[in-house]
Symmetry: D2
Subunit: 311 residues, 4 copies
């Protein structure tokens, strides 16, 4: 029954893949691919879905397409797991618009990185958060992504924001474990505040040290690997953690490191998904899918790593 799932678990725990957005053309969803992708990750045991994030290429998509995506995904997931919708935008009003759409469609939460054009100061950012959370119809996860937004959520800003109603946790994609450890110290009296890590290479240590889970791009491809690693870390099974963490590193070193630009992560992930028949590897501008040479390397890695949709 949908009403149950509308109560977001607090804290949210587990593996929440940042879903890629399958595309056929610049402004056309790969609807069949999207359907396969959703069933693929749900079959892998993931604990939620995060759509319209960086991995979902959200900033590159038209609003029309973003709205279509929200509807299709919520309609297909039907409350089987919580759906978190990215509302990051440089425009306050557009963030609210997406959040309302998400709520209407049946999503459970929204995710917000700082507005990423103007370099706001921390007090400006905190005031922005205070105003915005008042307008949001769903709980919100902060999304720390300084390499792309240029703007970090500083620790004191998060400490202050953690007391705003509706703030449910943070997805930290800074890759900075010192920041993460400080954050955890700072929020030890907020047991309902989810600490999720955005870089899968750090999932093992985050969960071992008491974090709540990860938003792992690779879980689009091999969801069960990340779910197993999460479970092993929860049960403090260090030797199993070690084996699975090595697998995560092998995937990361192979699939995310082809090509010369920072887009390697996204291109490799979409390319690998297309190699195993899940969805198209078309990408929204300013990126483009891997061309032949890179495609062939990814195909070879997918084979070597034994990635198949049916594992």
């Amino acid at each position: 029954m949908e009403s149950n799932t509308n109560v977001l678990p607090r804290p949210l725990r587990g593996i929440i893949p940042p879903l890629v957005t399958p595309l056929l053309k610049r402004d056309t969803l790969d609807a069949a691919g999207l359907e396969r992708l959703i069933e693929h990750v749900l079959a892998g045991g993931v604990h939620g879905l995060f759509i319209l994030g960086t991995t979902g290429e959200a900033p590159s998509l038209s609003y029309r397409l973003r709205y279509e995506l929200i509807e299709r995904i919520c309609g297909q997931v039907k409350g089987r797991v919580p759906v978190l919708v990215g509302i990051t935008d440089t425009s306050f009003v557009e963030s609210v618009n997406i959040a309302r759409k998400a709520q209407e469609a049946g999503a459970q939460a929204v995710v917000l990185a700082p507005p990423y054009y103007f370099p706001a100061g921390q007090s400006e950012l905190l005031e922005y958060l205070k105003h915005l959370t008042l307008e949001l119809p769903l709980p919100v996860f902060l999304y720390n992504m300084p390499s792309y937004t240029k703007l970090v959520f500083e620790l004191e800003t998060i400490r202050a924001a953690a007391d705003f109603p509706g703030i449910a946790g943070i997805k930290d994609s800074s890759g900075n474990m010192i920041y993460y450890h400080r954050l955890q110290s700072l929020l030890k009296d907020h047991p309902d505040f989810s600490l999720l890590v955005g870089r899968e290479e750090l999932l093992a240590e985050v969960v071992l040290f008491g974090g709540h889970g990860g938003v792992c791009g690779g879980a689009n491809l091999i969801p069960e690997l990340y779910v197993e690693l999460y479970n092993a870390a929860c049960s403090k099974d260090l030797s199993k953690v070690d084996v699975l963490h090595q697998k995560v590193m092998r995937l990361s070193n192979a699939i995310y490191n082809v090509g010369q630009y920072e887009s390697s992560f996204l291109k490799g992930l979409k390319c690998a998904l297309s190699c195993i028949g899940i969805c198209s590897d078309f990408m929204a501008e300013p990126f483009h899918r891997f061309r032949r040479a890179e495609h062939d390397r990814i195909k070879q890695y997918v084979k070597e790593l034994g990635i198949t949709p049916e594992r």
Copy 2:
């Protein structure tokens, strides 16, 4: 007659203020203030208007409001000077949408900074430009603004793009005069390509060395100062240039340096415009208008600098 003005001068020359966007509330234009602002700058003799740029807070505005702004401004200007419309967006499709709107409303050109979320490589950026210019119904000015977009138009990228049909020039807001001089060397065989500088502190030298003009924020406030400086530099009147350049520096050192954040420029400009009765100083999030202490300092500077709407 409107048909005449639809032929954009090539190269475009002169002072083209990056218009601030007067707001009454988060999603409500200050329509009366906008009207006064337009007549104020046109009375000062400016050679064009650039709307929906950084100074216009475009990324912080809803699309609805951006569209309303385009219509109102084109409707009021009625071809008296060319109107250039900012279409910078992380989404290719939304950039095209704004450009079409601009063309329908009667604008003469569009202005485009690189998409500012994903860190594209230069070859990706060039391919993006190639695809996008094919879809644009108006000539386009590139907008180099690395501090906000994180992505520079490298010199070789501009050299290649300068041959695409529809590329009319560049607005360089990097503040980097070495980059500017190299650009000018590189494009000396493109006499129709406009070289406009985005930082008013550099207007004097850019025009003295053969550049075509400036997109000067301060021209919202004292349009005739920048027009006179432009004219003096065109006619190589060095002693007049020196006097007017000192005035520009005094304004910059006073009005743009109150407050502790990088938003000082925008806040100071809107605050000064409200002090002289042109328009509201309301700002879109993540910024907010200056509070009392800063407002009083700006008011004092406006008085000391002798800024009045009727000069």
Copy 3:
């Protein structure tokens, strides 16, 4: 017998404090404080000493004083643990000079960050390493410290350098655990290559995941805390690791976070050492010791954390 200790353990394991340099004046060692400091950390069970690193303020010291320090420390340690001497310098020749001095004085290894003035490319850096290691009379640890040197040892550079004779390991102070995990994957066929972490907040996870130890600034102050954490992590005692890691975080959040500049770490550490009577808190320019207000806060933290020289 000294000859035994001249055989550096391969890989070097354990806690190797980056020794602060006690000073009485700009160019005068606090010799008595230095003696107390050495005995204090050796009594805490540390596995080596790293002198003339960042924590030792090496770049701020005259060469005369650096040479005096090497002699005094090696003379006092007398082979009880290996001494590693920082030879980082912008001048190749001066690096070699310090290394020779270190060898003469009886040190076991040297430590080298990239030359930190000119922005060398990675191939230039690798060639520099190839030439330099030929001239060094002692094994060398690479020191990755991009925030201070501006120059990172990229993974491929380390992979290539790991095969040079005389390269004994790396001290990674980047704070970047993804980099660290990639490094470990890359060097899994170099079992003698030491992987040491330079940020104590990351010691627990580095050792849990198979790293060899840490160069922990806080081990100047409470050496046995870091030694116990290292031992707990080696024996996979997760609940003990958790308790001790929390203590490390409390120390870090308190002692290293007073004052507004990046020098807080160094100033806090020297101040705390002076509060417990180990050595002077005088600092070499461009820094200065904490003044009254900050000193009092550190004193209070030292009391709250129960730090005493005799624990």
Copy 4:
């Protein structure tokens, strides 16, 4: 008579080449090349010499070699023009040592960039300057070089330091003309304070707007070009300025842009000097001279630009 030249002109004006350091080997001066280089630039009419700067590769040289260089140059120049000696160092004591050596050898001034390892705050930097200037036996020029030192002299720091006894001016190599214009506004009541620009591409505008001269790397190669441009700008001869500025840009675009690293400037300059028979192109680590392909391109450019030692 030497005593006359020991009175440094205030403000110092004109073209002061940052001398390259001719080397035969890692720690061996090319003494004959150095002699030719000095006579070459003096014959070109330069107004001073700046040795041991970035272009002189000072941080890469041993102290022994730096001291030898100071003696040789002062001995050869014999007061024909002022000699300015770079004393930038991470160690306060070593900066003082070099300054004393410079004074003994007969130099007229020293040049100081911020200490470049530790990230000092501006108040720390100002205190460092206050302490250091007390110890210096010669007037000092500040050297703003943020890309290499990571530490900028902020405007307020310079305003405060300008009142310290012994501060004679600034060499601004930031390449940031907005910073430069603000500096000039700020110091308009310090007519003796020299404003020198460190990037030759900006020499023309700096002098046109009232600056005192330039520290131009290219003046090692074609000293008279920069002297003529300086003179033309002083006499406000805009058409001559334009022609000469274009020549400077052509040299910069050719000679400084071969090779892929930031070291292109230095490598190209030394290579070109060797092509015209002035001195060796050997470079101190971490750099190395251009290899064949790049050398041949520089040789071709030298020919195309008509650079000869006897022009």
